[in-house]
Each structure stands twice: as structure tokens, then as C-alpha cells.
Symmetry: C2
Subunit: 355 residues, 2 copies
Amino acid sequence: MRAVNFCAGPCTLPLPALQEAQAEFVDFKDSGMSLIEMSHRSPEYEAVHTDAIDRLRRLLSVPDEFEVLLLQGGASLQFAMVPLNLLEGETPAGYVVSGSWGKKALADATHHGGAYAAWDGASHSFTRMPASDEIDVWPGSRYLHVTSNETIHGVRMVEWPDTDVPLVGDMSSDYMSRPIPWERFDVVYGGAQKNLGPAGLTVVFVRRATLEGTRRDLAAYLRWDIHADKNSLYNTPPVFAIYMMGKVLAWVESEGGLPAMENAARARADRIFRVIDESDGYYRSPVDPASRSLMNVVFRLPDEDSEARFLTEAEQRGFLNLKGHRSVGGIRASMYNAMPMSGVEALASFMDSFR
Amino acid sequence: MRAVNFCAGPCTLPLPALQEAQAEFVDFKDSGMSLIEMSHRSPEYEAVHTDAIDRLRRLLSVPDEFEVLLLQGGASLQFAMVPLNLLEGETPAGYVVSGSWGKKALADATHHGGAYAAWDGASHSFTRMPASDEIDVWPGSRYLHVTSNETIHGVRMVEWPDTDVPLVGDMSSDYMSRPIPWERFDVVYGGAQKNLGPAGLTVVFVRRATLEGTRRDLAAYLRWDIHADKNSLYNTPPVFAIYMMGKVLAWVESEGGLPAMENAARARADRIFRVIDESDGYYRSPVDPASRSLMNVVFRLPDEDSEARFLTEAEQRGFLNLKGHRSVGGIRASMYNAMPMSGVEALASFMDSFR
């Protein structure tokens, strides 16, 4: 029986994508070998590679002015590559510290350029995103870095900051669940292991004009311009993860594309927040209603004992990975694109009956 | 029918490993989900992670003084991380430029420290490895970087350089086919996509004492010490590639471990070199006999027309990916651990009959 998996990532993937990959795993298209045994320069793999990039471009309406890079190392390596590529000397760059991920991005960037906190939500315990007029962008800043969705704190940047400097966005946890306003961004990046596919792949979009000004005095793997010139085949790419992403994106297209994903995300989150809001305070969301995540619904029960019982009973019913991140506690239901509404309805019913 | 795949990497993998992975791909151990949908903090994945590391330690007799890191970005990212972690200011480090890979390692390192060529085989067209007394290690060098096997030029470092400074070794293409003299090394690294598993995983061994002196003023992903402290779970690891490596290593153990792999590698290479050496000059190896690779047997025919016909006829018989790298031309038979002797015998017979 298929589990109902609320894991924050890696996370539930579309069953048809998994089944197709299984069927052709040992013998890929009658080639007599697995895709993972093939040269990354082979026509078979190049077709997979191109297909994955084309689907990303179509689904996210990526303009021609942007390059698509398929890299490794997760968002964490981009925490280094963003400042390494974009900052020279002491050129400053602002960071919106909206939760654990924004905090890590800033801490990493300080080692490679003049990064500063343009807003810090720590004093609000990371329960909301800032309004534009709260963000302090220093003159001469190269970019403002934002985290579109904080998986641990369950807060979402609903409106993008209104600022003169280009945005750089970590969209790891809500990629492919909302449109991207490309005109505002120089760079968008994220790990694949939520809405795009398995772990081990990072998708980076960089504006072509931006690449003209990136640093060249870096080892080749750290340079976005080299990956762009080589169509992400500078070195051996993470073949299997790219292949799986292609399968996941084919499923997204078959389901109706980005608008369908966005509607489904809203429906899932609304359903659980309705239970919370109508529970007479039994379930409490610490998050400001205006910043509620559609991917990671974080909530508390009246006390930790109840939370422990909730988790135990939920697991007995096959609802897995509902425990909040160890740094904040409580409950977290992560509901990415492949989470079916039936799983959400079942959780909602359980929450009602548990109360 | 199973192809006979002489690809230089990604490359042929053990069939039992592929079949096992296929069987449990959609539903991992009756969990109701695929391994690639699971949290990297789950007990199921942690068992996979630990198993893979334990097998590496056992098979390569890794001493306790070394940490095992499972990273991403290939050897290419280590071309950056080696100097970033080990070099401060203008501290020099020597590089043995023994082929395309050694050359790239040096070029990348020059951006992140005082790297220099301690020997350069370009004047010999990279047809041999240096003797120890040809290598010029500058006083005060932090390390001497070596490439144990050059996949493109088909040359192998049979004897490790005799020098006072610690060695750092890129062993991407002959990992798990020869013992590693740990006492000589501070760091050994390599991409997994030859003898260890699929692309998307890099295995790095670092001496614990070395980690005490590595740089801390880097973004977290670039720091070996953080990956070591977190047992390679600082961020989401490449789950599937690590899992597949575990399966491949289980097969290596079932076949007799490292000694069996080394013997098989020698038998495969000897068989093809015998055809070459006994062909009255029809087949010619450009490589100095003392530096012949056991993994990548590079050879030429009397002229390029014959080479083209050879490749066409070979492919018709199911011998795939025998074309030499585009930068050097000719023929290259890459024979990694999972290449069965029967495939090698078949190629040898074809070579005899083609002549």
C-alpha cells in the first residue's frame, strides 16, 4: 500500500514517474543497458537531458534571456556560488533572513563578499515575511537575496520585495508550485528534492546578461558561465536525477502544468488551515496568516504530550513524517506537488477526530 | 540482450546490483514508498548511508585516521575544494600534470592558491607517468597532487611519487581496483561513476589530522570539516547514488573484494595488450609500457579510415563506446570492474579477426 508521506524533502513523487523509471531501469529503451551505465555524451542521454530542460522552460515560462543550469551540491553549494559569481571585493549584497535557510545563505555569503542582513525575522521567531518597506537595501548592493518559502518555519514570501536591485531567489521548496516573475530576478535556484525530483540535482536559472559580468577567476565547477556555455555538460551531470526530473515534469504537464500545481497547492494548504482555524484554538499555527506557506503547514497542539500522541496515532494510520523540524518542534505537514488531495483529506479527518 | 559497454564513464555496472535496485525501486522494503521519496534523516536511509560507508571502509582498508565523505559535484568540484581547504595565502602546492585531468586540476587550483606544475607530461604527449626524480616539488609545498589514472590518455601511475610532502590523489578512474597506500596520502578523492556506481556522487577520504588545519572561512558546503562532522548529512546527500554504490560494493565483496578486482583488471588489460603487442604493429599503443592503464586501453590502427571501419564493425557486433576521446582520437576500451572477462575475450577475438 502506498504511504501518505508528509516528508519535507526528499518527498513523495508521482507514482507513474516511479513506475516508468522502474520498468526501464535495467534495460533503457532496448539498449541492453541501464541509463545510469550510459555515457553522458550519448545520443540517448542527450535526449533525456534536453527533454528535462525543455520541460522546465515550458512549465515555468522561462524567457530566452535566462540560461538553465543543472548542477549538483544542492542549494547549499549555491549559497557559495551566488556570492562567488556575483560579488567582487566588498560589493555588498542584501539578504532577507526569513528563517533557517535565509540565515544559512547569509552566513555562507559573508565568507565570499560583503553580505549583510537587509531584514531579519529572528525577533519575530521567523513567523512572517517582511513588507517591502521593512527591508533595508544598502546603496550599491549587487542583489537582494530572498528565500521564497522557509520549509522549517512554514513561512512564504507571497509578494516579492519591491526594490531597485535585482533579486536572487532560493526557491528550493516551492519551485514549480507558483509562477516566477522573471523580470525581477537575475538568478533563481533550488534543490530538486521537493517538487522536481530526487535529491542530487540543483536547478539554477541565470539571466544571460548577468553571466557577462560573473567572475572568471574561479575553478571551473564554481563558474555559472562555464556550465551555461557547456549546456550543463561541462562535467558528468547527475544523470539519474535529471532523468527522474524529466519524468516528474512530464507528470506535471499531464496534470495541467503550473496553474494546476498552484491550485492544488492552495487547496491542500487551505484544507489543513481550515481544520486549524476551526479547532477553537486546539491546533495553533504560529505563522502570520499573510505569510502562510502552501507547502509546509506548521502547527502546534496545546502541549508537547498531545503532540507526541498525535504523531504516534498519525503514524499508526499511515501518515508519515509529520514531526516538525527538530529546531522548532511541533507538527509539520509538508505537501508538495505529488501529494494527492485524498491524503490531505484523510489527514484533515484524522485531525478533527483526534481533537 | 546485455550490451558490451566499453564506455569511459558512466559505465557498465554489475547486473545483480541493477536488478535488485529495480525490484525495490517503487516500494522500498515494504515502506509504501521509493527510497528516493524518503527523508535523508529516516532510519531506512541512514541504514543505507551507513552500509555504503562501512563497505567502502572494509573494501579499501581505510584506516580510522581517515574520514569518508560522500559529496556531490564530481572530481571537478574537488579541483576547487582541495586548494580551498588546504592552501592559505600563497602556500604552494605541486601538481603532476599527467594528462587532461591533471591539467584541469592544476588550472582550477591556480585560482585558489599557489599551485604549480611539478611535472608536465605535455612534451611527451601524455604517454607516460613521471619517475619520482623528475618531479620538482618546491620547498614549503603543502601537498603534491597526482592523478592515479588518466582516462583520456590511458596512462596509470604505477608507483606513487617518492616525496616528503603528503600526496593528494584524484583516483576517479581506478578507485576500487588497486590498494591505496594510506600512509602516503592526506586526501584521496574521485567521482563514483566508474567503479563505484552512478554519476552524481563523489567519494572523498580525508585524514582527520588534516581536517584540523583546513580553512574555516568558506561557505559550509565547501568545507570538508563540516561534512566530516555531519557524517556527510550536512545537507541532503545524493540518496540514490549512495544507495546504488552500496549495491555495487556488495557485489564487489561477493566477488572477492579488492584483490579480486585488481586481478580481474590486470587480466582484462593484459588480454587486450596481448592482442596489440602480437599484432605486428597493426595495433599500436601510444602509451609507455611502464605506464599502461589497466582501466582504459588506448590504441591506434594504421590509419583513421581503418579506425572508422573498426568502430563501425565493432558496434555492429555489440561492442559499444570504443571511440577514443575527441581530444586524442583513436580507440579506447574502458574496462571497469563490472566488465566481464567474456566481453574482453569477445573484443580480443574481434580485434584478431578484424586485423
